[in-house]
């Protein structure tokens, strides 16, 4: 086991873990940040989406050794009081059903708007297609992204 240091939501952490432990489980089981969800474990559902150095990544598919010294933002760190425009738009459109996929959806949408402040439907399809919702909240996700874009997209 080795020691790793990483910054999560602006806070520095030191963890002891095997090099191949995925960031997802470092966050959930070592740091107690359970907002990031586990669903597929193989990088195909997006439930575990986080921002790594500003990029959207499925945290189940990146190991702790690859995030050593880097900055991670999770759903808990997106805003202090659920005030990020994406979160606000999500609330206004009442997107969430069971809610389990929503942290991943929101992290994906926030990353999209960071890069493309005025996304087209095609942009939304391209970026959001990798984050699944079994409850079928997609029509509202699309509307909420457009609403968030109108709100300015970024915090």
């Amino acid at each position: 086991m080795a020691r790793w240091s990483l910054t999560v939501n602006g806070k520095p952490y030191e963890v002891e873990a095997e090099a191949d432990m995925p960031l997802l489980w470092v966050l959930r089981d070592l740091l107690g940040l359970t907002g990031t969800k586990f669903s597929c474990g193989i990088g195909v559902c997006g439930a575990c989406n986080v921002h790594l150095g500003g990029e959207l990544v499925p945290s189940c598919s990146i190991s702790v050794s690859a995030v050593n010294g880097r900055k991670v933002v999770t759903i808990e760190g997106l805003s202090k009081e659920t005030t990020h425009p994406v979160q606000q738009a999500w609330l206004e459109e009442q997107v969430s059903q069971c809610g389990y996929c929503q942290p991943g959806q929101i992290m994906a949408a926030a990353a999209l708007l960071e890069k493309i402040p005025r996304p087209t439907d095609a942009d939304i399809n391209r970026v959001m297609a990798r984050t699944l919702c079994r409850c079928g909240s997609y029509p509202r996700i699309r509307k909420a992204i457009q609403r968030a874009a109108a709100l300015g997209g970024k915090p």
């Binding site: 086991m1 095997e18 432990m21 995925p22 489980w25 959930r28 089981d29 070592l30 107690g32 940040l33 359970t34 907002g35 990031t36 969800k37 586990f38 669903s39 597929c40 474990g41 193989i42 195909v44 559902c45 439930a47 999770t74 759903i75 808990e76 997106l78 805003s79 659920t82 979160q87 999500w90 609330l91 009442q94 969430s96 059903q97 069971c98 809610g99 389990y100 996929c101 929503q102 942290p103 929101i106 939304i124 399809n125 391209r126 959001m128 297609a129 990798r130 984050t131 699944l132 919702c133 079994r134 409850c135 079928g136 909240s137 997609y138 029509p139 509202r140 996700i141 699309r142």
Partner: protein, 705 residues
């Protein structure tokens, strides 16, 4: 009038809140009382809902139904708030603790929550309101008629006095429970029928919502499990050397259903599970496959000779006989949150945290597996006698990351209890996605042989559905002089269970597919054909007409676009859906639009109804277009979302969902969106291509073979 025997009197019970201050009102939902195992408090009284008002003016509603995305933690309190005269924002909602003796049997399924809560939650709000008014009237020495409840405050109509509910709560608790309460006329509703945002809606958006997988308690270990890949098999030899060598792994435990690895965290457990060397005894099912199951179904269908005399006579007298055979595959629930459960056995108590649709069964299962058989039997006998539930089990129901019927089963609870017992430590069991896809309780595969006799105008004079492998056949709601069905139960070795909309998921597909075939045989427009056979079904007819109108049925469509319709009654609601699509060899199947209309009677929270319809349609569309569970060598061939794909946002067509205003008592909304979408799609594909698809999921080769 003898108020002691009025319904309200018997079904409400007042207790002062724990410290003797405030009002605690217990009430019961009739349906739950039916199956409740015991009573406590007054005779025959089995409350399963609670309303608490404390002096600090906090109003809490305890809801025994599980929240899994269907919005029940918003809609039920909304009913109560309407009569209590408070805003939904003034109410805190909590999951009721599980105690069969207090809350009755708790189970959430069958789209029943609002249907059963409609009267009782409103009555509970009204009873509390009247008692608060009585308390104010007594304090102010004024007739109750002079007091008005509004926004959490009782005011004297003369205007000089006011008191908050909190201030009156302790005194209200001393007031007699009113024998009869008047409920508002629908015209006076301020909340019911108006969209209300989700209660605690932010929790899901900032990571603070706690699901089963998120449970954390001191000293918690994490386990994962490996089941025999073949249904019903068992481990013969387990070599756990390599698994135990994985850093963080504590223990390997064999339990009834498989082999579990207990570790410091999930990643170590999962790695350990991957390192297990197990020799399996595959048991009796090693040779079954989707192909052999289908052959078995066909043999049973061939052997069937049980059509009722009346049907056979009508068929013999018909102008023409039309037959068709339909097939549906197994389906997995694929809840986004995998199966999980946390168990801590301490101080003679078994504490369980589980995301469950049936917490009462969780309690029973935990009792059964946390004690020795002798202890359990003794306890059970005692409980029966004393009308108690298992005091030694404490169940905390967490939020559910999807249910869809999968969490009506408690297999994962049994496992977690057995593992925690062996580990002698608190354990959180989390299944991998692979285990979840391969060890579910699937929507059964089935074969349906449809037979209709039609007259010279093409109108059906008889109808029969032979359902093989399915527990249930569809009742045709069309005007057909004689109709019926038969089921043949077949034990295939594949575990099955309820899947969102249960038997409606296969029956809508075959009934609405076959009626479309009859319309084609008659050379009639599929909508017109249906409408003329719906004379006795005004609500179904109305939704069909509205959906057709919204979809532009009969009007000019863009080049290459075609429409298909399906309707379906179920769970007390009536739904019609129209699909607009195009299909050709180069571009494949493209759905351009889905129009949906539901008549679910009186609507409590319209936005929730629309969300459930959108979600139901997309859940059904996944099973129509992209995914199926198939069996080979006794195992499920799929293992994760790459080969059991869930519909994605870029594959999601625009959905227009409408609610038909209704006055009838509320129908269910969690499931009715699912059944019509598959037949609406295949009916539209027939319109587009002339090819009749009778097997799900729809694939390009079925369409263009």
């Amino acid at each position: 009038m003898n108020s002691d025997h009025s319904p309200a009197r018997r079904e409400f019970l007042v207790t002062t809140a724990a410290a003797g201050t405030g009002l605690l009102l217990a009430f019961s939902l009739a349906s739950c009382a039916r199956s409740a195992s015991s009573d406590r408090g007054s005779k025959d009284f089995q409350p399963n809902g609670w309303l608490r008002i404390t002096p600090d003016n906090r109003i809490t509603v305890f809801v025994d139904e599980a929240e899994m995305g269907q919005g029940v933690h918003t809609a039920l309190p909304q009913l109560l708030a309407e009569e209590l005269e408070v805003d939904l924002t003034m109410i805190e909602v909590e999951q009721a603790p599980v105690d069969n003796s207090v809350y009755g049997w708790q189970s959430t399924g069958g789209s029943t929550s609002i249907r059963e809560g409609w009267e009782r939650f409103r009555q509970a709000g009204a009873v509390a309101r009247e008692m608060l008014i009585a308390a104010a009237a007594q304090t102010w020495q004024t007739p109750a008629e002079a007091c008005v409840a509004r926004d959490g405050v009782i005011t004297h109509i003369a205007g000089e006095r006011r008191a908050t509910y909190g201030e009156l709560a302790a005194m209200a608790a001393q007031m007699p429970v009113p024998g009869n309460v008047r409920l508002k006329e629908p015209g006076d509703f301020r909340l019911i029928g108006k969209s209300q945002p989700r209660v605690r809606g932010e929790d899901a958006l900032n990571g603070s919502a706690r699901y089963g997988v998120d449970v954390d308690i001191p000293g918690l270990l994490v386990a994962t499990i490996v089941h025999c890949p073949v249904f019903g098999g068992r481990a013969r030899e387990i070599d756990s050397k390599k698994a135990l060598a994985v850093s963080g792994v504590r223990q390997v435990v064999e339990i009834d259903s498989g082999v579990a690895v207990v570790a410091d965290h999930f990643w170590a457990a999962a790695k350990g599970a991957g390192a297990l060397d197990i020799v399996w005894d595959f048991g009796a099912n090693a040779d079954i496959s989707s192909r052999t199951i289908r052959q078995l179904f066909s043999r049973h269908a061939d052997d069937f000779a049980g059509m009722e005399q009346e049907l056979a006579v009508a068929l013999a007298g018909a102008d023409r006989k039309i037959e068709a055979e339909y097939h549906l595959p197994y389906q997995a629930h694929a809840t986004p949150e995998p199966m999980c459960c946390t168990v801590h056995i301490h101080d003679g108590i078994c504490e369980v945290w589980s995301p469950s649709q049936k917490p009462s069964e969780v309690q029973a299962v935990a009792a059964r597996f946390s004690m020795s058989s002798a202890e359990y039997l003794l306890q059970r006998a005692k409980n029966k006698l004393l009308k108690h539930s298992f005091d030694s089990v404490r169940v905390h129901n967490t939020l559910l990351g999807g249910g869809f019927g999968r969490r009506l089963k408690s297999d994962f609870v049994m496992e977690a209890v057995q593992i925690a017992k062996a580990a002698e430590a608190p354990v959180k069991l989390i299944w991998s996605r692979e285990q979840d896809i391969q060890h579910g309780y699937y929507r059964p595969a089935s074969l349906h042989r449809m037979t209709a006799g039609v007259d010279e105008n093409g109108s059906p004079v008889m109808w029969h559905q032979l359902a093989v492998g399915a527990s249930d056949y569809g009742s045709p709601y069309y005007d057909i002089p004689v109709s019926g069905g038969s089921t043949v139960d077949v034990n295939t070795g594949v575990p099955t269970g309820p899947w969102r909309s249960v038997s409606h998921s296969w029956n809508a597909f075959v009934v609405e597919g076959f009626i479309d075939e009859l319309a084609a045989h008659a050379g009639e427009d599929p909508l017109a054909f249906r409408l003329r056979l719906l004379k006795r079904q005004p609500r179904l007819k109305a939704v069909a007409e509205m959906a057709a109108e919204k979809a532009g049925w009969g009007e000019a469509l863009p080049q290459g676009h075609h429409l298909g319709i399906a309707i379906h009654p179920g769970f007390g609601s009536y739904v019609a859906q129209v699909v607009e699509l195009s299909a050709d060899k180069t571009d494949g199947i493209r759905i351009h639009r889905i129009v949906s209309v539901i008549d679910c009677g009186r609507v409590v929270n319209p936005d929730t109804v629309l969300a459930q319809m959108e979600g139901g349609i997309l859940f059904g569309l996944t099973a129509t277009l992209t995914s199926a569970i198939t069996i080979r060598k006794g195992r499920v061939e799929q293992s994760n979302f790459h080969d059991f794909p869930i519909l994605r946002i870029d594959e999601t067509p625009p959905i227009e969902a409408y609610i038909m205003p209704g006055e009838e008592s509320p129908g269910g909304v969690g499931e009715p969106g699912v059944p019509p979408i598959a037949p609406a799609v295949v009916n539209a594909l027939y319109a587009a291509s002339g090819v009749r698809i009778r097997e799900l999921p729809v694939t390009m080769d079925k369409l263009f073979s």
